[in-house]
Symmetry: C2
Subunit: 142 residues, 2 copies
DNA sequence: TATTAATATTTGTATATACAAACAAACTAA
DNA sequence: TTAGTTTGTTTGTATATACAAATATTAATA
């Protein structure tokens, strides 16, 4: 059935979650070739771009909670894609050589994903929607 | 940090998921007084409105997978809010008296939630966004 | 300096959701 | 009628995420 025919199609809880689930699915498909979920991949790209980045910064960038970030990092550590060092209360996350070597492929996945949804939704349409959604996010309480 | 300042703020994966998380949080707050999560509440309202509704219909209405619907129903059954009967391969879900008595309060929660986000986002703005998001959902692959 | 408060991170635990497989029933076609 | 296929639902299992509490460290203040 079409979303627009659901009893709840006017409800932002319903629509935003349904959209997120579909996007997540589409994204994970794009990153499957590197055997990562989208959120792991985004985190990893942040780490490669800014070696030594701290979990708290990642929290801000990804709008996820600290505990979730810890869990994501743990997973990437298991996969030997990042390492962690702790000095006092601060932690730094670094990409491994394996991760650095993976970067071009990660970027291809990212492009593939952008391609995938902008083919479906249209390039301007997607950009406009992303902008509007950001505005909503920033208005909603933390 | 503002979503619009994230490195990934132009990515629909990032924005749609971030919005959904915030909406979910806001919604769950509204339904807390009846001790239900938003998805349980929406399912329950469907069942009250259409007693005997089948899981497959609920799947269509909520755009969730069959297994998720089974799990949500199980939870509501534990809480003595719905009952299930099975005839052949079909299952019917009925509200209990307890659930029916809860209906007005459920509707208040729903109103409270609508109020909450349309106060923040604006009534027209929200309606327009919901419409646009529905369009996106329907374009994306199942 | 000693005590308190704030900050950064991790852990324990709970939750919603999904996928794949299992199962049961109903339909179809030979 | 029987074999095969489709449909509806449930189970087993895995995952991402969050909340609350624990821990450790630094900063502030009295």
């Amino acid at each position: 059935m079409k979303a627009a025919n659901s009893k709840y199609c006017q409800c932002m809880y319903f629509t935003s979650n349904a959209l997120a689930r579909k996007m997540e699915k589409l994204a994970n498909k794009s990153w499957k070739r590197v055997d990562l979920t989208a959120s792991h991949a985004y985190l990893l790209m942040l780490v490669i771009e800014e070696p030594g980045i701290q979990p708290s910064t990642i929290v801000e960038q990804l709008l996820l909670t600290p505990s979730t970030i810890t869990r994501l990092i743990e997973k990437l550590e298991e996969k030997k894609l990042v390492t962690r060092t702790t000095e006092g209360k601060l932690t730094n996350v670094y990409p491994t050589p394996k991760a650095k070597k993976l970067l071009p492929e990660l970027q291809e996945c990212l492009n593939h994903f952008y391609q995938a949804y902008s083919t479906i939704l249209g390039k301007e349409e997607s950009a406009r929607m992303a902008g509007n959604i950001n505005k909503l996010i920033d208005k909603l309480p933390v």
